[in-house]
Amino acid sequence: MTRIRSGAGLAIAAILFAACSGSTATPAPASQAPASAAAPSGAAPSTAPSAAAGTPKDGGSLVVAIPGDISSTDSAFIQDSNSSTVSNQVIEGLVATKPGTTGEIVPALAKSWTVSPDGLTYTFTLQDGVKFHDGTDFNADAVCYNYNRWNNFTGALASPDYSYYYAAVFGGYGKDSNLASCTATSPTEVAIVLKHPYSSFLLSQTITSFGINSPTALKALDADNPDPTKSGYNTGAKGAMVGTGPFMFKEYTANDHITVVKNPNYWNKAGVAHLDTVIFKPISDQTATLNALQSGDIQLAMNLNPTDLSTVQADTKLQAIDRGESCNLFHLGMNETHKPFDNEKIREAVAYAINKQALIDTFYGGQAKAAITWMPAGGLYAKDEALPEYNVDKAKALIAESGVPADQLTFDFWYPSNVSRPYMPDPKGIFQAISSDLEAVGFTPNPQTKPWKEGYLKEEATGKYPMWLIGWTCDWAGPDNFLDTAFFNYQGGKPSPEFAYTNDALNKTMKDAEAATDDATAKTLWEKAQDMIRADMPTVPIVNSTPPAAAAAFVKGFVGSGNLTEILNSVWLDQ
């Protein structure tokens, strides 16, 4: 849910047939208290999943540090991880990912669903007797009210800066949209009809932007005001964020705190929250976050600097929390319109020049693995591309082969300031290490920086930077979300200016893969796509990280998830 760049074309479709093969689903509801949720596979032994022993106790307040203030309280407009962390506690969608996983779909507000054989009609059977936090009924009409609302967005609301994910998933609005209709066939049954089959449909509906809000509350706070900054529903006014989740929105004070309180009437009795109150506090500085955790100001930190992991582990009053398998990729961007990166040999040389293991040890506290392809190693259809390993001689040899003279090995190398991302905990440090690696083989990178929010993202997306640090945290765990949406998509028949990586055959292969109707074809095509990317080395994949969270030792029941969108209803305080 961490959108990190613009211009991601409307990459629709993906696969995950396993998850959405159309049969009636049976697993337990998403927000059920995962008393049985085992440690996510791949949990490092050093970090203990806190869903361990003990009988949950009810009551208490939890203060949670998030890396920055929220940007919206209207789930339809949410694109950043801070806002979605909060929204996920309050707003639920029809389906969800199972806590602790990034790709396993479980029922939420829909207790079951069927898919027509042509893959166009999704019929959802809704949970009975669910009420929104404002006391109004949740029913099929409410669901369609939401879907139609999104589909009818116009003006600023229809710009990617607001409802980005609706357009990204449905391809546009109104007649441009892939949504044919949403019909309430009975109070507890909804039929959502698509124009074209879209195999990733269910998985995409798990993200924050497709949460169902109370129609009454939306209308009351003017959520559809053409100027979204005038909508109280978007700006955190009293009465915003009315959903069905285990917590209810109480208040928002900008840059200070957001408070949610327990929903005692939560429809899923097994998922009723243990905590009375959860308060989210934005603290941007990682040292300050750790200080606040150790001094007891906060009890749970979502953004721990991995290099502080040893400090947390050494403190008996604290615990590090594993968040399961990685769902991100950090890579070194290169833009092919800038010299010398138009030369394939040079790009390959860069790949050999970087000492990934040293980066992992120094900046990730070991909480990362060298990337094997352009998506997380555990992602669906990820193929080990035998990427170049650190080899200075090989890098030098490739530079010599490239024929680029030494005086043309100079370029601007950009890194962002005022930011740390789950896949990039310390951009400044990583930048220095990579710069030194590059200098060691004969490059002359010229350091440049911009604050992340103040221009870095905008400028890198337009292709201004020859080389820069960038990455992606998954929205959903499919290859389309990385290879196409995030990276090498085409816009209007041209490669996105960000990487300026022209490869028409790759683009066609990815589109075919997204439209594939069976698992085997999709696998073949996505692996082929990765091979094609490997041959050109448009960027240098560096690591997939597993960013830890940290909490006071008495915080129990937190179930981490690689996509970093955890729900706190299972959390309780052992004190």
Partner: protein, 300 residues
Amino acid sequence: MATKAATPATVRVPVESRASRGLWRDALVRLRRNRPALVGLACIAIFVFVAFFAPWLAQYDPNKGGLGKTFEPPSAAHWAGLDKLGRDELTRVMYGARISLVVGVVSVTVGLTIGGLVGAIAGGVGGRIDTILMRITDVFLAIPGILLAIGIVAWLGQGLVQIMIAVAVANAPIFARILRGSLLSLREAEFVTAARSVGASRTRLLLRHMLPNALTALIVAATLALATAIIDVAGLGFLGLGPPDPRTAEWGTMLTDSTEALRRAPWLIFAPGIAIVISAIGFNLLGDGLRESLDPRLKR
């Protein structure tokens, strides 16, 4: 910049009737007897010496490290330990002296030139020009210095040059104010009136008689400004507006980095921290000493 506001109030303008050369010579004599000022001078001498001879004094390359040696604690080989990238912290502090010296001196000189020019014109010419120039100065003085500097760096972009400009612009109005104040108070001084009575031209009066005397207050203010300039640059670094090349061995940036690593390697804060404090103390002591020597009425 936090101390800037104090400067004008505490600077007393010398009302000397003797020739300016005598004033300076006397001041030098008094300065030599001022122990704290000598200590300050010694601090600055060390600072400048290190800055000039860093390549000979340091045993290591400030930019070469090794990621395997991250955060090594202080040892016989590395007195101040190794930083996150395995670089010798002491070496970097020595090289950092160069940048701090350059940034401090350049920004204060630029600020002094702009502020001095404005102040001299305003105080020397007087009248409507004085009013206009001082109103403009007031506008800049009304914005807290660090905000002004942040705004300028945000506007011009990050870079050492931009930082120097920012600190210079933040200082210039203070200098203008001080010089003008001194000039105004000198107008009625005996030696000026005397020179005027023997028919000295207005320009001559300003350049030969008033300016040299008025400069004393400015020099004191500039010395003190050097101390704050070093701290301000560190503050900009803390707010993420430091030099764009993070490998630059600059004290403020190093200090900010070391605060980020406070939990892993608390010792890293000492070398740059002490360097900043010592150089700031040096300029503060010298500034105070100069003030006392230049104004014989202030006896401590």
